[in-house]
Amino acid sequence: MSTAIETKQENTPVVEQREGRSRVYAPAVDIYEANDHFVVLADVPGVTESSIDITIEKNVLTIEGKVEEKHYDGLELSYSEFGVGDYYRAFTLSDDVDRDNIQATVSQGTLRLKLPKTEPSKKKITVSAE
Protein backbone atom coordinates (compact mmCIF):
# COMPACT_ATOMS: atom_id res chain seq x y z
CA MET A 1 0.00 0.00 0.00
CA SER A 2 1.48 3.29 -0.97
CA THR A 3 -0.94 6.15 -1.12
CA ALA A 4 0.34 9.46 -2.31
CA ILE A 5 1.85 11.59 0.34
CA GLU A 6 1.71 15.30 0.13
CA THR A 7 5.26 16.43 0.37
CA LYS A 8 6.59 19.88 0.52
CA GLN A 9 10.10 19.24 1.55
CA GLU A 10 11.92 22.43 2.22
CA ASN A 11 15.33 21.07 1.93
CA THR A 12 17.33 23.94 0.66
CA PRO A 13 19.31 26.08 3.02
CA VAL A 14 17.67 29.30 4.04
CA VAL A 15 20.96 30.76 5.08
CA GLU A 16 24.09 29.26 3.64
CA GLN A 17 26.51 29.83 6.47
CA ARG A 18 25.54 31.37 9.73
CA GLU A 19 28.22 32.20 12.23
CA GLY A 20 30.43 29.58 10.67
CA ARG A 21 28.02 26.85 11.68
CA SER A 22 26.23 24.34 9.53
CA ARG A 23 23.44 25.19 7.09
CA VAL A 24 19.99 26.22 8.23
CA TYR A 25 16.68 24.79 7.03
CA ALA A 26 13.10 25.93 7.49
CA PRO A 27 11.03 23.11 9.02
CA ALA A 28 7.68 22.21 7.45
CA VAL A 29 4.80 23.24 9.72
CA ASP A 30 1.10 22.58 10.22
CA ILE A 31 -0.99 25.18 12.02
CA TYR A 32 -4.43 24.56 13.51
CA GLU A 33 -6.85 26.91 15.17
CA ALA A 34 -9.31 25.66 17.76
CA ASN A 35 -11.77 27.73 19.75
CA ASP A 36 -9.43 28.56 22.59
CA HIS A 37 -5.95 27.81 21.25
CA PHE A 38 -3.66 27.38 18.28
CA VAL A 39 -1.47 24.36 17.61
CA VAL A 40 1.75 24.53 15.62
CA LEU A 41 3.46 21.32 14.54
CA ALA A 42 6.96 21.55 13.09
CA ASP A 43 9.05 18.69 11.71
CA VAL A 44 12.54 18.96 13.16
CA PRO A 45 14.14 15.51 12.78
CA GLY A 46 17.28 15.09 14.85
CA VAL A 47 16.27 17.70 17.41
CA THR A 48 15.70 16.96 21.10
CA GLU A 49 14.19 18.99 23.95
CA SER A 50 17.64 20.22 24.86
CA SER A 51 18.67 21.27 21.36
CA ILE A 52 15.68 23.45 20.55
CA ASP A 53 15.06 27.06 21.50
CA ILE A 54 11.73 28.80 21.27
CA THR A 55 11.76 32.50 21.89
CA ILE A 56 9.23 35.30 21.76
CA GLU A 57 10.38 38.79 21.14
CA LYS A 58 7.66 41.38 20.81
CA ASN A 59 5.17 39.57 18.59
CA VAL A 60 7.61 37.26 16.80
CA LEU A 61 7.88 33.63 17.84
CA THR A 62 11.10 31.97 16.72
CA ILE A 63 11.93 28.28 16.52
CA GLU A 64 15.62 27.37 16.44
CA GLY A 65 16.87 23.80 16.52
CA LYS A 66 20.40 22.52 16.50
CA VAL A 67 21.40 19.30 14.81
CA GLU A 68 24.82 17.72 14.87
CA GLU A 69 25.71 15.86 11.74
CA LYS A 70 26.41 12.21 12.42
CA HIS A 71 29.63 10.58 11.39
CA TYR A 72 30.18 6.88 11.16
CA ASP A 73 33.62 5.49 11.74
CA GLY A 74 35.07 4.11 8.57
CA LEU A 75 32.04 4.96 6.45
CA GLU A 76 31.90 7.56 3.72
CA LEU A 77 28.79 9.46 2.72
CA SER A 78 28.23 8.24 -0.81
CA TYR A 79 24.70 9.43 -1.58
CA SER A 80 22.59 12.17 -0.05
CA GLU A 81 19.08 13.47 -0.65
CA PHE A 82 18.84 15.78 2.31
CA GLY A 83 21.24 18.09 4.02
CA VAL A 84 21.85 18.03 7.73
CA GLY A 85 21.80 21.36 9.46
CA ASP A 86 20.02 23.54 11.95
CA TYR A 87 16.39 24.66 11.80
CA TYR A 88 15.03 28.16 11.89
CA ARG A 89 11.57 29.58 11.37
CA ALA A 90 9.79 32.64 12.68
CA PHE A 91 6.11 33.55 12.96
CA THR A 92 4.29 36.71 13.80
CA LEU A 93 1.74 36.19 16.57
CA SER A 94 -1.57 37.94 16.65
CA ASP A 95 -2.64 39.87 19.74
CA ASP A 96 -5.00 37.15 20.93
CA VAL A 97 -2.19 34.67 21.68
CA ASP A 98 -1.50 34.32 25.39
CA ARG A 99 2.29 34.67 25.33
CA ASP A 100 2.79 33.59 28.93
CA ASN A 101 1.17 30.19 28.61
CA ILE A 102 2.67 28.68 25.49
CA GLN A 103 3.48 24.99 25.87
CA ALA A 104 6.11 23.20 23.82
CA THR A 105 6.96 19.52 23.53
CA VAL A 106 9.26 17.59 21.20
CA SER A 107 8.49 14.00 20.34
CA GLN A 108 9.99 11.83 17.59
CA GLY A 109 11.41 14.80 15.78
CA THR A 110 8.19 16.81 15.79
CA LEU A 111 7.79 19.99 17.80
CA ARG A 112 4.31 20.69 19.11
CA LEU A 113 3.41 24.16 20.33
CA LYS A 114 0.14 24.91 22.04
CA LEU A 115 -0.68 28.60 22.09
CA PRO A 116 -3.72 29.49 24.20
CA LYS A 117 -5.83 32.45 23.22
CA THR A 118 -6.41 35.25 25.64
CA GLU A 119 -9.93 36.07 26.76
CA PRO A 120 -11.27 38.76 24.50
CA SER A 121 -11.24 41.91 26.58
CA LYS A 122 -14.68 43.35 26.15
CA LYS A 123 -15.45 46.62 27.70
CA LYS A 124 -18.96 47.82 27.92
CA ILE A 125 -19.34 51.52 27.72
CA THR A 126 -22.29 52.77 29.59
CA VAL A 127 -24.25 55.36 27.79
CA SER A 128 -25.75 57.78 30.14
CA ALA A 129 -28.71 59.87 29.29
CA GLU A 130 -28.29 63.56 29.65
Binding site: M1, S2, T3, A4, I5, E6, T7, K8, Q9, E10, N11, T12, V14, A26, A28, V29, D30, I31, Y32, E33, A34, N35, H37, F38, V39, V40, L41, D43, V44, P45, G46, V47, T48, V60, K70, Y72, G74, L75, E76, L77, S78, Y79, S80, E81, F82, V84, R89, A90, F91, T92, L93, S94, D96, V97, S107, Q108, G109, T110
Partner: protein, 129 residues
Amino acid sequence: MFFTDLDRWHRSVLGELSRGFQRTYPGIRLYQNNERATVLAEVPGVNPDTIDVTVQDDQLTLKAEKNTEKPEGAREIRSERPEGSFTRVVSLPFRVDSNQVNAKYSNGVLEVSLPRAEEDKPRKIAVAS
Protein backbone atom coordinates in the same frame (compact mmCIF):
# COMPACT_ATOMS: atom_id res chain seq x y z
CA MET B 1 -5.11 34.93 9.16
CA PHE B 2 -3.64 35.03 12.61
CA PHE B 3 -0.15 33.92 11.76
CA THR B 4 1.93 35.71 9.23
CA ASP B 5 4.75 33.61 7.97
CA LEU B 6 7.93 35.50 7.60
CA ASP B 7 9.32 32.82 5.35
CA ARG B 8 6.58 32.93 2.80
CA TRP B 9 8.87 34.15 0.06
CA HIS B 10 11.12 31.16 0.24
CA ARG B 11 8.23 28.71 0.52
CA SER B 12 6.78 29.90 -2.73
CA VAL B 13 10.11 29.36 -4.45
CA LEU B 14 10.69 25.96 -2.87
CA GLY B 15 7.15 24.80 -3.49
CA GLU B 16 8.01 24.76 -7.17
CA LEU B 17 11.22 22.84 -6.63
CA SER B 18 9.78 20.23 -4.31
CA ARG B 19 7.08 18.90 -6.60
CA GLY B 20 9.31 16.17 -7.91
CA PHE B 21 9.88 14.70 -4.43
CA GLN B 22 6.56 12.90 -4.13
CA ARG B 23 7.86 9.50 -5.11
CA THR B 24 11.04 9.81 -3.14
CA TYR B 25 9.75 10.39 0.35
CA PRO B 26 11.47 10.10 2.71
CA GLY B 27 14.81 11.39 1.57
CA ILE B 28 17.77 9.22 2.47
CA ARG B 29 21.49 9.45 3.08
CA LEU B 30 23.75 6.50 2.37
CA TYR B 31 27.05 5.94 4.14
CA GLN B 32 29.18 3.00 3.07
CA ASN B 33 32.48 1.24 2.82
CA ASN B 34 33.30 -2.17 1.36
CA GLU B 35 31.97 -4.09 4.33
CA ARG B 36 28.83 -2.32 5.46
CA ALA B 37 26.43 0.54 4.85
CA THR B 38 24.22 2.80 6.92
CA VAL B 39 21.06 4.42 5.58
CA LEU B 40 19.52 7.42 7.30
CA ALA B 41 15.98 8.58 6.60
CA GLU B 42 14.23 11.59 8.10
CA VAL B 43 10.75 10.47 9.11
CA PRO B 44 9.69 12.79 11.92
CA GLY B 45 6.42 12.25 13.72
CA VAL B 46 5.66 8.73 12.60
CA ASN B 47 4.40 6.07 14.94
CA PRO B 48 7.39 3.73 15.52
CA ASP B 49 5.04 0.73 15.47
CA THR B 50 4.16 1.42 11.85
CA ILE B 51 7.79 1.45 10.68
CA ASP B 52 8.58 -1.58 8.59
CA VAL B 53 12.12 -2.22 7.39
CA THR B 54 12.79 -5.12 5.04
CA VAL B 55 15.87 -6.18 3.11
CA GLN B 56 16.12 -8.52 0.20
CA ASP B 57 19.49 -8.99 -1.47
CA ASP B 58 20.52 -5.46 -2.34
CA GLN B 59 17.13 -3.78 -1.87
CA LEU B 60 16.09 -2.00 1.27
CA THR B 61 12.40 -1.17 1.69
CA LEU B 62 11.22 1.39 4.22
CA LYS B 63 7.54 1.70 5.08
CA ALA B 64 5.84 3.86 7.66
CA GLU B 65 2.69 5.76 8.38
CA LYS B 66 2.57 9.37 9.35
CA ASN B 67 -0.77 10.46 10.73
CA THR B 68 -1.12 13.68 12.62
CA GLU B 69 -3.69 13.83 15.33
CA LYS B 70 -5.65 16.90 14.47
CA PRO B 71 -6.84 18.91 17.47
CA GLU B 72 -10.56 18.35 17.88
CA GLY B 73 -12.77 20.89 16.22
CA ALA B 74 -9.76 22.73 14.91
CA ARG B 75 -9.52 24.57 11.64
CA GLU B 76 -6.47 23.97 9.50
CA ILE B 77 -4.59 27.16 8.78
CA ARG B 78 -1.50 25.68 7.21
CA SER B 79 -0.50 22.18 6.15
CA GLU B 80 3.03 21.59 4.92
CA ARG B 81 3.99 18.39 6.70
CA PRO B 82 3.65 15.23 4.63
CA GLU B 83 0.99 12.81 5.74
CA GLY B 84 -0.16 9.28 4.95
CA SER B 85 1.65 6.03 4.38
CA PHE B 86 4.76 5.81 2.31
CA THR B 87 7.06 3.22 0.86
CA ARG B 88 10.59 3.87 -0.22
CA VAL B 89 12.80 1.34 -1.96
CA VAL B 90 16.53 1.95 -1.82
CA SER B 91 19.06 0.15 -4.00
CA LEU B 92 22.11 -0.69 -1.96
CA PRO B 93 25.65 -0.93 -3.30
CA PHE B 94 25.86 -4.64 -2.40
CA ARG B 95 23.86 -7.60 -1.17
CA VAL B 96 23.18 -7.53 2.52
CA ASP B 97 23.11 -10.18 5.23
CA SER B 98 19.45 -9.72 6.13
CA ASN B 99 19.91 -11.49 9.48
CA GLN B 100 22.33 -8.85 10.68
CA VAL B 101 20.37 -5.75 9.74
CA ASN B 102 19.77 -3.34 12.57
CA ALA B 103 17.26 -0.47 12.55
CA LYS B 104 16.62 2.19 15.13
CA TYR B 105 14.36 5.21 15.23
CA SER B 106 15.20 8.17 17.40
CA ASN B 107 14.22 11.84 17.29
CA GLY B 108 12.47 11.31 13.98
CA VAL B 109 15.50 9.82 12.24
CA LEU B 110 15.53 6.21 11.09
CA GLU B 111 18.97 4.63 10.99
CA VAL B 112 19.47 1.24 9.34
CA SER B 113 22.84 -0.48 9.49
CA LEU B 114 23.42 -3.08 6.81
CA PRO B 115 26.40 -5.44 6.78
CA ARG B 116 27.45 -6.75 3.42
CA ALA B 117 26.62 -10.40 2.82
CA GLU B 118 29.66 -12.64 3.26
CA GLU B 119 29.18 -14.29 -0.15
CA ASP B 120 29.00 -10.88 -1.80
CA LYS B 121 32.34 -9.68 -0.49
CA PRO B 122 35.20 -9.59 -2.96
CA ARG B 123 37.47 -12.59 -2.73
CA LYS B 124 41.10 -12.60 -3.46
CA ILE B 125 42.10 -15.27 -5.88
CA ALA B 126 45.50 -16.70 -5.24
CA VAL B 127 47.63 -16.71 -8.32
CA ALA B 128 49.61 -19.88 -8.66
CA SER B 129 53.05 -19.41 -10.01
